[in-house]
């Protein structure tokens, strides 16, 4: 798996779901569900990666090793509105993948977000924000 991704980082289940959806020409995830996942990855990246490189003296990543982490993610999945059930299915698949140790990591966060997907999600959010702001101006 790591060789496929490029060895620098493992693909998170969220990124895998978005890539499969891309290959399927967006027939798997409605646009709103896709946006929800990208927003989620962007937010998590902005929280976790500054902590990971020590810019913030808090280590939230450690929570991903605890037995509470899957419950927290399950709660997030349950909070997704029923009409966004496909995004909730991605969360469910993430929990299943973590349970069967699909990736080498034992930290749940590595199943939820990865640097490539996270950086793409941040870029996508910025681009979307700029587009909307530009559209308002014009």
């Amino acid at each position: 798996m790591s060789a496929v991704w490029g060895a620098f980082a493992l693909p998170s289940l969220t990124t895998i779901a978005l890539l499969i959806d891309l290959v399927a020409r967006h027939r798997l995830l409605p646009a709103a569900d896709r946006r929800l996942l990208l927003y989620g990855m962007a937010v998590m990246s902005l929280i976790f990666y500054p902590m990971a490189i020590g810019l913030v003296h808090v280590d939230a990543y450690r929570f991903g090793y605890t037995p509470w982490a899957p419950f927290a993610l399950a709660a997030i999945g349950c909070a997704i509105p029923p009409w966004r059930f496909r995004a909730a299915i991605v969360v469910l698949l993430t929990l299943v993948a973590f349970d069967v140790h699909l990736l080498p990591s034992m930290n749940l966060f590595d199943y939820v977000v990865d640097p490539f997907g996270g950086l793409f999600a941040i870029g996508w959010c910025i681009a979307r924000g700029l587009r909307r702001a530009f559209a308002r101006v014009t």
Binding site: G6, A7, D59, R62, S105
Partner: protein, 342 residues
């Protein structure tokens, strides 16, 4: 059978044909032999760096010829990625056999490093290296240096540190398959790296930290009372040093012996100091290397990166970098420390 008489011997590890060696590590084999490993090449982070190993026959007291046990090409193949160079090795024998944790530099300097793991049944045949997933951010910036120890459940406490962005120290808990199952930072606002942990009893541990700043500082330490799950605030010892590694070992009487560079500016002095109150106060340092020769731009006059291991016979093996061209090996025992470091 432990020696009752003071023992202190010094020799060098066998040389290899490299202009530079550094960061030796030790592990004891099941028969009592001691395996040493270090990295060597043209210089730090040069592409020809390899990790070498030599074995000390406990019966004859002779070292075997060094042989490479990891190199850039093999590591690149194992990891499936380009590798720039190799760095600090850490040997450790756990219940599953012999492990070699080591640093692979992916790009740039030490900040672009990742931790690798090879295993071996005998110290001769080594498995292809694989990643130790220790950081969520491209798994980069992570390094090893300090000695691991084993928890009661068989998992390993692996001291780690981070050099990408801000520097910090921590301890990873690694399972038998080499997967990190927990990781805790030793939080401090200062630049403290290269933790060296000592389990003083089944519940308590101390972590001694390298002052990672270019300005003079002190050896610092933190304590854990829950088997390393959490670490208290970092305290400062009276041991002066600057940006150099420290190693610590517990003696038979429960006191701790630190080996460190006793200088606010250089690594020319290597000293021993002892604490009987878990790091609060220390004896006067006893110097084992003190080089006052003038700089000559040829010899790198440093005696650094101590690594210490107690053998099953009670003897304490100390290795350290000697002028960056050799690895010094010293053997001593508790009786010698009792006389020399009061």
């Amino acid at each position: 059978m432990r020696d009752a008489q003071p023992l202190f011997t010094a020799d060098f590890l066998p040389t290899v044909k490299t202009t530079f060696v550094h960061a030796a590590t030790l592990a004891e084999m099941p028969n009592g032999d001691v395996l040493a490993a270090w990295y060597g090449g043209y210089d730090e982070i040069s592409p020809d760096v390899r990790i070498f190993a030599a074995r000390l026959d406990h019966a004859t007291g002779r070292w075997s010829e060094p042989r490479p046990i990891a190199d850039r090409a093999g590591t690149a193949r194992g990891l499936g990625m380009r590798i720039k160079s190799l760095g600090n090795p850490v040997l450790y024998r756990d219940r599953g056999g012999l492990k070699l944790y080591f640093v692979a530099v992916v790009f740039g300097g030490w900040g672009g490093s990742t931790i690798c793991l090879s295993s071996s049944p005998d110290g001769v045949q080594w498995s292809p290296p694989r990643h130790v997933q220790a950081s969520p951010f491209f798994n980069l910036g992570m390094l090893v240096r300090g000695i691991p120890w084993t928890y009661a459940d068989g998992t390993t406490s692996l001291p780690i540190y981070h050099e990408m962005g801000n520097k910090w120290a921590g301890v990873a808990r690694v399972d038998a398959a080499g997967r990190v199952i927990d990781s805790v930072r030793i939080e401090d606002q200062r630049t403290l790296i290269q933790p060296w942990t000592v389990a003083t009893d089944p519940d308590h541990a101390l972590a001694f930290l390298r002052w990672g700043s270019p300005t003079p500082g002190h050896v610092t330490f933190a304590a854990s009372s829950d088997r390393g799950a959490t670490w208290g605030s970092v305290r400062t010892t009276s041991l002066v040093h600057r940006d150099s590694a420290v190693a610590v070992i517990q003696l038979d009487d429960g006191s701790l012996l630190a080996i460190y560079n006793n200088s606010p500016h250089t690594r020319r002095s290597l000293a021993l100091a002892r604490t009987r109150d878990a790091g609060a106060t220390w004896t006067q340092p006893v110097t084992i290397e003190d080089d006052r020769a003038p700089d000559d731009n040829v010899v790198r006059r440093e005696y650094s990166y101590p690594y210490v291991l107690r053998g099953s016979d009670g003897r304490i093996h100390l290795v350290y970098t000697y002028r960056r061209t050799a690895i010094r090996h010293i053997v001593f025992n508790d009786a010698w420390v009792a006389e020399a470091v009061k």
